[in-house]
Structures are given as C-alpha cells and as structure tokens.
Symmetry: D3
C-alpha cells in the first residue's frame, strides 16, 4: 500500500520529463530495472529530476570514498531512521557492488554499537569534551 | 549539565573495576585522555566494562572494514539519531584516524542524501521491490 | 499483527465508555467508518476518550490554520517519525479534505528537503545564530 | 562547537564557487545576513551549490502551497527529527514570513498531537486500514 | 534560546486561564517551582490546560504502575527521541521519587541495549515471528 | 523479506559457535523456541555471542528493577525508535512475564504522553532549568 501511484513503464514513457530521467537511470545503471522509489517520485517530474541528479552527483561521483563505502553509510543512516525501503534497496546495492558477508556483518556490528552508545550519551546527557573541538 | 556524575581520575582510581577499564582505555588508545562518556559510564562498573569491551571488539577488530570507514559509519548513525555528543566524539576520532576534509565532505553529502530519500520513501510508503530480496 | 486486540463494533458497543466515543467519532466525521487506530485504543477507555478529545480539539478547532494544512503538518511529523500507519491515515485524510496531487507533491518535496538539511545541520553541529533568537 | 569550520565572509569571498552562492543567497533573500548553516556547507562548494539550489527550488517556487505553510512543514519535520538548529532557523523564518503567535501555537499543537498518536500507533502496531489505500 | 517567550510569574498571573493551571501545578506538586516547559506552553492557554490535564491523568493516576516506573518509561522514550530537555526533567523527577543510583544504572543499561538491538533488527529487517502474535 | 539469511536449526547446529549460543538461549529461556532475531544474528557468530551475553547480563540480572519493568522500558525505546520487530517481540515477552492488560494500557499511555511532550519541548526549544541539575 502506498500514498501515491507507482507509474508503470507506459505511464512514465508518456511524460517526456519522466521518460528522460528513466532513460538516464537505465543508461547510468546499465540495467532496465527501475525500482519502485523512482516510480513513485515520477508523480512529480521536477522532484524526480532533482533527486535523481543528486543521487547521481553524490553516489556516482569520482571522489575520495569508495562506492561500496558510500552504500554502507547509506545503510547506516537508513537503519537509524527506520526506513525499511531504504535499508532493503541499499543493502541490495551494497551486495551488487561486491559487499561480502563479512563486510555486511561488520557494518551491522558498528551500526548497532553506535545505536547503543548514542542512547547512553543521550540518557546521561554527556557534555562534549573540549578536546573534540574542530581545529582544537 | 548531565544526569549523572562524571567521575574524576581520583574517583575512578578509587574503584578497582573502574580503574582497570580506564587503564585499558589508556593503554589501547596510547593516550592519557579519558573522554566524558566513560567518566559518566563509570557510575556503573559492569556496564562500563561491557560497553568498553564491545567498543574494543567492534572498532578495534582486525576485520574487513578500514578503521576510518567504521568511524564514518558511526558518524552516520549518530547524525541520524541526533546524538550531538557522539557526532562530536566520532568526528574527532575520524580526524585522528586521518580523515581528510574532502572525505568528510563526501561523508556528509551521502548522509544528507540518505536523509532526504529516507523521508521520500517513508512519505510515499514505497513497497520493497522483489528484486531487493536477499538471495533473490 | 498487532500488540493489542482491535475491538469489533459489537465489542465496542458492549462497553458504554467506548460506545460513547465511537458514536461521537461517527457523528463528528459524518461517517460510519471507525479506523483500526480507535479499535486498538478502545482497550483503554480513558485513553481512548482523552486522545479522541485532543484530536477533536486540535484538528477540529476553528482556528487560524486551514484543516488541510493541519493534515500536512501531521503527515510531516509522521513521516519523520517513521509511523507507517499515521502516514497512511493522514495522507488519506488530506485527500479527503481536497488535497490535490500538486499539493501532495510539494508537501513531500518540503519534507524531504527538511530531512536533508536536518542531517546536514546535525552532522556539522551548526551553532544557532543569534539572529534567530525569539524576540531578537 | 562544530565539526567543520564556519567560513567568514572574507574566506567565502576568496573561493569563487562559494562567493557565487553567497551572492545569490543575499540577492534572493534581499538581506546581507548569511546564517551559519551556509558558512559550514561552504567547506564543500558543490554540496553548497546543490543544497542551495534545492532550497531555492522547493521553498521559493511559485507553487500551490503558501510560503508560510512550507515553513510550518519544515518546522514539523525538524522538530520530529530533533534538529535544534533547524527548529530555530525555520521558526525565525516563519516569523519573518508573518506567522502570528496564534498560528505558531496551533502548529505546535498539531505537531505534538502527531507525536502522541505516532507513538500510540507504533506501540499498538496498528495495521493500515484498506480504506486508506491510495485510489481505493 | 527558545522559539517562544517563557512567561514570568507576573505574566502568567495576568492571564486567568494560565494562572489557574499554574496554581493547580503548584497545588498538585506541593511546590512553588514551575519549570520552563509550562512557562513556554503558557503562550497557548488551551494547550497548556490540555497537556497539564493529560500529565496529571497519566502520571498521577492511581493505576497499576508505580510512579517511579512511569518516570523511567518517560526517560526511555525521551532518550530515544533525543529530547534533551525531557531527559533532564524526568531524570530529576525520577530522583525526586526516590530512584536510586543502582536503579538509574539499570535503566540506562536497558535503554542502551534496546537501542542496540533496535538497530540490529532494523538493519537485518527481521520479520516478526508468528509466535509473537497477540492472542496467538 | 530480510537483508540476511535466517539460519535454520540444522544450519545453526552445523556451526559450533552458533550452536553453543542457541543451546544457551534454549537453556536460559527453558524453551525450544529461537526467534528470528537470533537466526539473523547467527550469520556473525561473534556478534551473536556478544549480543546474547549482553541481553542475558542486562535483562537476566538479579538487580533492582523487576524483569517486567525492564520489558516495559524496552518496549518504550523500541516504540520511539519505530522498531516494529522489537515492539512485537518485547510486547510478547512482557505478556509472558505476566503483564496485565491494565499495565499495558498504562505503559502505552505514558509512552504516548512522552511522545507528545518531547515534541512540545523540541518545538519550543525549552532551556533546561537549573533546578534539574544532577546534584543541584
């Protein structure tokens, strides 16, 4: 059950601004598969385009972080935010980028340790040490 | 302002179970500095010991993830959970482990992109694609 | 799957305090439909009554905010909190109050932009500008 | 205390890509004031530009939602996410756009009602009613 | 820094609907102290009254849960939600109701364990066992 | 749908480190039932062992908090974090430990009141009263 319509390929193809993004997604990913997230966003072509271009810029950039590391960071945020869809989609993406079972296990161990100490620091309302100051 | 006392070095040294953990923190980190988080946890020696041993096991393990990558994952979770203390402490830890400004900028870009699409997926209540099934 | 029983109409009618609230919900909404949320709350008649009266007071008040605007604010909070039930129920309520597809698209665009910048501000731990001071 | 440097006007002006965005912020807002959020983001000019353009596109668009309504939605998300900076900055923005004390009071009443019922629905794990189905 | 004015005793006394609630808070708590939360809420007398009456009904009721247990539950929710004010105010309330240091330590241990396993269950997207079905 | 395999009894028994933990879970709980959470964690035997030992230490300890009170605190955190699995599993655990319907109703009433006032305090950005200072 969704709160918006998920556009079919035919419906997407009938809207030029959506078709253009879907074609770019397929070309960029070298795959015909368009996942539901984009089919929902397609109800709003300007947002579809803006979000896709952000994803391409951030996740596709030749930067200093490995593409698999970026997927792991994505999974970490999505887990903490309780976004079930995003945990699934980025866990699949991480596997597609070569994540091993051992790497996934370590990722989850770090995420849950952070979950634990986040709650401890919040419960004790620990003040930030001056030593942590940026540039300090 | 905290909800517990932060133990001083003298107070910590007076409790054998706390002193042992503090000594191990100092030896493991090759630094005399004990940050406030541990000084708060020291009110409960068994939890202090259990949490420190978890941190050592997860963050210090010779595994498949780079120590800096683990710090980035930690920052990602702490940001999403709104734990100000943890964002500060692990941002400092990442810098201490050699994180460059460019890596930090990319980290933040991924975290905020995830924050954006997490909200989109939740607002649209997008159903998980069968293609994301583990082992599928 | 729930953690409480969802009361049927017959079960609700058999408890005077529940029946009274259900009758008021039906009269206020001019509809026979009682959604699952109230059927679960009906296990605790005083809480059922208190919550329903709060909903009536806040959402039904003749105040300065348009009823549709209030539904959008409700959707925004529910999305950020990851309450799937509430996102669904208030998205349906917004449509029932005349929300257009264009309005829904704009709502989601604002929600996700806020999600993005919330994560940025938290990751950078930006201090509040004095200029934002209330009355400043 | 922050995890990044907040760029001064002189530092911002020395980086052409940052200067261009700061000039656009000033021109768009018809004000010389640049708040700390942008001074932090300025460490990463491409992200600064992308986020500012998103803010301009979403918050500045001539769409179907009133600019003040968008600020209220922004406050709602920021409150639920516990982003103190964002609550402050967008509460100031809402006042600047003419929000009355009565409107603010109603906004907060709706936000907190949603916070209450979000927790109730999550605690009871209420299943979504078929009647809420989009298009249903 | 706040987003609303905090009413002084003189300002509160000048508004009959606020004065009545403040008097009831003082009488109920047998203390002259009115904490900042109520001084902020006093900007909106109907919400002030509704929230105070809910607090009195839920926290003050002669029910099946011990008043201290209720404070601990309150601290647990506030910690997970990252509400710094609420963690402080209810930690103080728990101490005032006789919470020992050992009880507080156990409370925090449970909260942080839950934080850890919540993240694990979300990261693995574990399906609910049929055995957990209510009434099952 | 999960992001990891859930190990069957046969698969678990074939890995000595997993079999040992599963046997301890069964012996400790005096039940043959192993819920899905542990079957997912079993992909990473060291984390399985560490988490199980934490659960045993925290939830099973003869301390100052009643076992049922600990389950209620667990439910409170899990609800606020939106962990559906955990809300279900610990609501079942609370029932197994003798939680009455009246206690559950009160638990939910406190959780949702906290959800409400957490949002109010965050929206108003209420400063912590000096009176709440630990030791103050």
């Amino acid at each position: 059950m969704t709160t918006v319509k998920l556009l079919t390929d035919a419906e997407a193809a009938a809207i030029p601004a959506v078709r253009a993004v879907f074609e770019d997604i397929r070309a960029t990913r070298k795959s015909d598969f368009i996942n539901n997230f984009w089919r929902g966003l397609a109800n709003d072509p300007p947002t579809l385009k803006r979000v896709w271009e952000s994803v391409k810029a951030v996740m596709g950039a030749e930067g200093t972080l490995d593409p698999l590391v970026k997927e792991m960071i994505y999974i970490a945020v999505s887990t903490a935010n309780g976004c079930n869809y995003c945990v699934h989609s980025h866990s699949a993406a991480a596997r597609a980028k070569g994540q091993t079972a051992a790497q996934h296990a370590e990722l989850i161990a770090v995420i849950s340790l952070a979950g634990q100490t986040n709650h401890l620091a919040n419960a004790m309302q620990i003040p930030v040490d001056r030593e942590f100051q940026f540039g300090g």
